[in-house]
Symmetry: C2
Subunit: 146 residues, 2 copies
DNA sequence: AGTTTGTCTATAGAATAAGTAGACAAATAA
DNA sequence: TTATTTGTCTACTTATTCTATAGACAAACT
């Protein structure tokens, strides 16, 4: 399961993608619009800033904005930043590989084989879907039929 | 992440698949061979029995065995029995559907769209892979080259 | 100097995961 | 019938992670 934290991160980034041309956006605006607990969101945004996807300024007229082009921020990486590995078991993760505790022989582990397939299928989707792609979808859905 | 419980369940079922022709298998044998805490495994097996994939008898010469053909028990359903939905967010689950708390409009939710793709890709793999398929893999790997 | 807005540190409460203990019930065997 | 073996049930405990909140602090602007 995706944590609420990761979901909030995605919502916030999507919101900032929408508002990308309007300059800085207040934490409290994002919180209200996306129904995210303010203080919780605060921590998430600081995290995303540290990871390099967000920029911020303090004081009057301050706020948050994307630090990169939305076409360079993949959904896969956002989830990794917050929740860690996409893989369901550590031994098939690419970036967070870890041996499973009880596993005797990784090479012949059947569970590993299926889970690797699942991880690869998941990564194939999430690592090729960017904020900009999702943004387009909303734009399309919001367009009034001619 | 797959819970340890689900992983233990898979390991136990795979072990029983291997031993399917040898009649009943003791909990303690599975626990030792697969390095699973005995008491914890006990609870898992009772669970799997309730769900209809295992049979058991008590007393001398008792133990556990599969209640169905390994070609009828999919990895997807085993995981569902123990961990619940395969989907990363409740609103894209088929069997455990639930509206997301903060979601204003499910129809236009971009996160939902990507996560649905991921869920479908995952289910496509896990619901078409059966214990018998994984069993074959081990058999192949264990065969000595001619 | 005052106001606005993000930042940092600490903590708390709830839920879930992981594991343990011990009495109990059924099947078999002596 | 009694003893032994093996699964079952109930109740905890412990640890970890998730979700969220409070409040002091720091920078930017007016």
């Amino acid at each position: 399961m995706l944590s609420k934290k990761a979901k909030y991160a995605l919502k916030a980034l999507l919101y900032l993608t929408k508002k990308a041309d309007n300059g800085l956006v207040l934490i409290s605006e994002i919180a209200t619009q996306e129904r995210i607990p303010r203080k919780f969101l605060e921590a998430i945004l600081v995290d995303l800033k540290t990871q390099g996807v967000l920029q911020s300024t303090r004081g009057k007229n301050g706020g948050y904005t994307l630090a990169k082009n939305p076409s360079q921020i993949s959904i896969g990486n956002i989830i990794r930043m917050i929740d860690g590995p996409l893989a369901a078991i550590p031994c098939v993760s690419h970036l967070y590989y870890r041996k499973c505790d009880e596993c005797l022989d990784e090479e012949t582990c059947e569970i590993r084989l299926v889970m690797k397939k699942v991880r690869d299928a998941t990564a194939a989707i999430l690592d090729t879907t960017y904020l900009s792609d999702l943004q387009k979808i909303t734009v399309l859905l919001n367009e009034d039929p001619v």
